[in-house]
């Protein structure tokens, strides 16, 4: 399996920022084309907040102007709290300690992860770039965990499990569990420990956007299309969804979207500041630790036929359903226990109120036991990353030929 060198992603984000355009004086600032109260003089601070090294950002001749040189701006006029307010926020420190974040992650970066692009459109001050990195990391870690530990999962179940681990609703629930409170309105005077985003106005229809009402790059509205698995695999995101959020960030976002962006940004910030090991530890303690019963994600239409196809594909004997036990056949509530056998091997067992239901349940159980097979020792690709002794020895994972398509 080809390794994904994600250690370069963060450095690409940092290197893409031009270093030579750092202003020296507030009065020398070019006016931002957008009519918004940006703070481009803090550009260098944002770079510093993302840096994982302690090297000075600039030479002494390029120090920022003294405070007396810059005019005082009322905090209410700022779109988001300044970075200097992060150190004095008790909520932010409490959140940092509550999440057991590494000490290398500064409070300023944590404060930046709480600023949604709808609150501050300045990409140097909001969490858009961090969230992009965090989204890829969460998808990567979850996908490799699911694929390596459950190599026979059907693609739809894989998408559902992916969403159950790191989907939008899950991340919003995680945000609530972390105790992150949301600000009523973003602004510079707001406590940096609050999640800041511009709320969507009441009455706005967000169902269309959530359902994938998106016009593609070719100008075709695919919202009414029935998406096949092939298209979901090619064009979809880590959850198989093609839609992006149809809401404009300037018009506001929902609390769920803002929470999702925050968690992703926090993961990205942890990766940038603390490295992959800390990120994986953080991911395991906050996301993989969540209990998810994968067997509940399956939905079979014709399990008996799927099981027959599967046995035929794998070279097993054709499945045979046998009645194992029954009770109350002539009563109002009979119970039949049926086992599905492939030759002498029992593939599954199910109980139902009728013989047919019990046979279907037994076939579904046999399919689940096949699809939920998990190898005993697994080495995920991210564990093998790293130089020297840091990475484990790579053991190839099992790759299944795929699900049975009826």
């Amino acid at each position: 399996m080809k390794r994904a060198r994600i250690e370069r992603w963060g450095s690409q984000l940092l290197q893409s920022r031009p270093q030579g355009t750092r202003p020296q004086c507030l009065y020398q600032q070019p006016q931002h084309p957008q009519p918004h109260n940006h703070r481009p003089q803090w550009h260098w601070q944002a770079v510093r907040a993302q840096s994982t090294t302690s090297t000075p950002l600039s030479s002494p001749s390029r120090r920022p102007p003294p405070a007396s040189h810059a005019p005082r701006i009322p905090r209410e006029s700022l779109p988001s709290p300044p970075l200097s307010a992060a150190r004095s926020s008790a909520k932010l420190s409490a959140l940092h300690a509550r999440l057991s974040l590494p000490s290398r992650l500064p409070l300023e970066t944590l404060a930046r992860a709480l600023i949604d692009p709808s609150a501050d459109p300045n990409p140097d001050l909001n969490n858009a770039s961090l969230a992009l990195l965090g989204q890829d990391l969460l998808g990567y870690y979850t996908a490799e965990h699911l694929l390596a530990h459950y190599p026979r999962l059907p693609q739809t179940v894989l998408y559902a499990a992916q969403y159950a681990y790191v989907g939008g609703k899950t991340l919003a629930a995680v945000t609530r569990e972390w105790g992150v409170e949301a600000a009523a309105e973003p602004g510079g005077e707001v406590d940096p420990g609050l999640l800041q985003f511009k709320r969507v106005k009441p009455g706005t229809d967000i169902s269309g956007a959530a359902a994938g009402e998106t016009i593609g790059p070719d100008g075709v509205n695919r919202s009414q299309w029935r998406l096949g698995m092939g298209m979901r695999n090619v064009s979809g995101d880590e959850f198989g969804d093609i839609n992006a959020s149809g809401l404009d960030a300037a018009a506001g976002v929902t609390l769920e979207d803002a929470s999702k962006t925050f968690v992703r940004a926090l993961v990205g910030a942890v990766y940038l500041h603390c490295g992959q090991l800390s990120t994986k530890r953080f991911y395991a303690s906050h996301f993989l630790s969540r209990q998810l019963d994968l067997s509940t994600l399956f939905a079979f239409r014709t399990p008996t036929r799927d099981l027959s196809r599967l046995c035929a594909r794998e070279g097993f004997e054709a499945p045979v359903a046998r009645l194992l036990s029954e009770t109350g056949r002539l009563s109002r509530h009979p119970v039949f226990v049926v086992g599905v056998y492939s030759g002498p091997d029992k593939l599954g067992e199910g109980a139902g109120a009728s013989l047919d239901e019990a046979r279907t349940r037994a076939a579904a159980a046999a399919l689940k036991s096949w699809y939920l097979y998990s190898p005993e020792e697994v080495t995920v690709p991210s564990e093998a990353e790293g130089k020297g002794d840091q990475g484990k020895r790579w053991v190839p994972c099992m790759v299944d030929c795929g699900e049975v398509i009826a």
């Binding site: 209410e76 420190s93 940092h96 009523a184 309105e185 005077e189 707001v190 406590d191």
Partner: protein, 358 residues
């Protein structure tokens, strides 16, 4: 009728301590003090001065309706009482000379602006225009470093004890003098067997002369010193070669030097002048050694607010998830912290409603 004795007022104690130098020595001390206190009390009296003479003369004038009334005795005293001498104190008391001089120049203020105003920007500007410098009793900045405070205590000890040994009054100590911190560090303190008499032991004569010259810097000019005897005493003290250390005397550290009531207040006053730290009376009462005085000077004043008191405790200030507010966190502050207050303000202003009741 026998005159009822009057209780002494507190101001009399102050007046009596100053003495009355110009009265003839043939008058007894009680009469001199009474006359001096009666004369000087006028300086603290708010009533207009009356030029009718003594009480006896006023009684005579009231009884006989004319000033050349018969009788020369003092009616204030009985027949059996000795005659109280008439002391001409009014012309010789300096405290009453000034009011008489100013009486002619005094013009009552008819408007508010004509009153003399002390304090404020206008008064400061007037004093700046007239180049009248205010002599502060203490520096306006307080010393905070323990080394500076310790140096000030040592310096005050050396200065006051040097003046005491020279027999010069403590009034010679002025605020702007030459610093003798280096010299004071070399001086040793020796106490007698009783533990009360503390004397300085200088390493050599030059140190002693330098210390004395710096302490009474104004004495050699003799312009600001009233008593010429102080100058003579200073010259005599400077000329005396320091005595060799007596074996019976015990050398003390500067923190062990006892503060004798004779010079305790002079030392503390000098320390206040040097450090700018004012000591309350109960603290002064507790200071019986220079070390305790130093300890009291190091004590920071009690905070006036709970937030300041909590900030002193390092246990709470070291916690990042704890913040202190110097005032009550009200509903507006809470709304501002979550960003809702600006929305409330905007909506209230758009409806023409007052934002707050004030």
């Amino acid at each position: 009728m026998r005159r009822l004795p009057r209780f002494q007022q507190s101001i009399d104690l102050l007046l009596e301590s100053t003495g009355y130098p110009h009265a003839p020595s043939t008058i007894c001390r009680t009469c001199r003090l009474r006359a001096a206190s009666q004369a000087r009390r006028a300086a603290f009296s708010t009533s207009a001065p009356r030029n009718e003479g003594s009480l006896a003369n006023r009684l005579k004038n009231r009884l006989f309706k004319k000033k050349d009334a018969p009788g020369t005795g003092n009616l204030a005293y009985g027949v059996t009482q000795p005659q109280a001498p008439e002391v001409e104190v009014e012309d010789s008391v300096p405290g009453e000379e000034a009011p008489r001089e100013y009486a002619n120049q005094y013009e009552p203020a008819s408007k508010w602006d004509n009153l003399e105003w002390v304090g404020g920007k206008k008064s400061k500007k007037d004093r700046t225009d007239t180049r009248e410098e205010i002599q502060w009793f203490m520096p306006r900045t307080k010393a905070t470093k323990p080394n500076d405070i310790a140096a000030a205590v040592r310096r005050a000890l050396v200065e006051v004890l040097a003046l005491q040994e020279a027999g010069i009054g403590f009034e010679a100590l002025r605020l702007p003098t030459v610093s003798i911190d280096d010299l004071a560090a070399d001086v040793q303190y020796q106490v007698s067997g009783t533990g009360q008499d503390v004397r300085l032991r200088y390493p050599n004569d030059e140190v002693k002369s330098e210390i004395l010259e710096s302490v009474v810097l104004s004495v050699p000019q003799a312009a600001e010193v009233d008593d010429a005897a102080s100058f003579l005493q200073f010259q005599r003290a400077s000329a005396v070669v320091h005595e060799p250390a007596v074996a019976s005397r015990k050398t003390l550290l500067w923190k062990e030097v006892p503060l004798d009531p004779a010079n305790k207040f002079a030392i503390i006053k000098r320390v206040m002048q040097l450090t700018g730290i004012r000591l309350a009376d109960p603290k002064i009462q507790r200071c019986d050694t220079a070390g305790k005085l130093f300890h009291e000077l190091l004590q920071r004043p009690q905070p006036t607010k709970l937030a300041d008191a909590l900030k002193i405790d390092n246990e709470l200030t070291s916690l990042n998830n704890v913040t202190f507010s110097s005032r009550r966190v009200g509903p507006i502050d809470k709304e501002r912290q979550v960003g809702r207050w600006k929305v409330i303000e905007r909506e209230l202003e758009s409806r023409g409603l007052p934002v707050t009741m004030s």
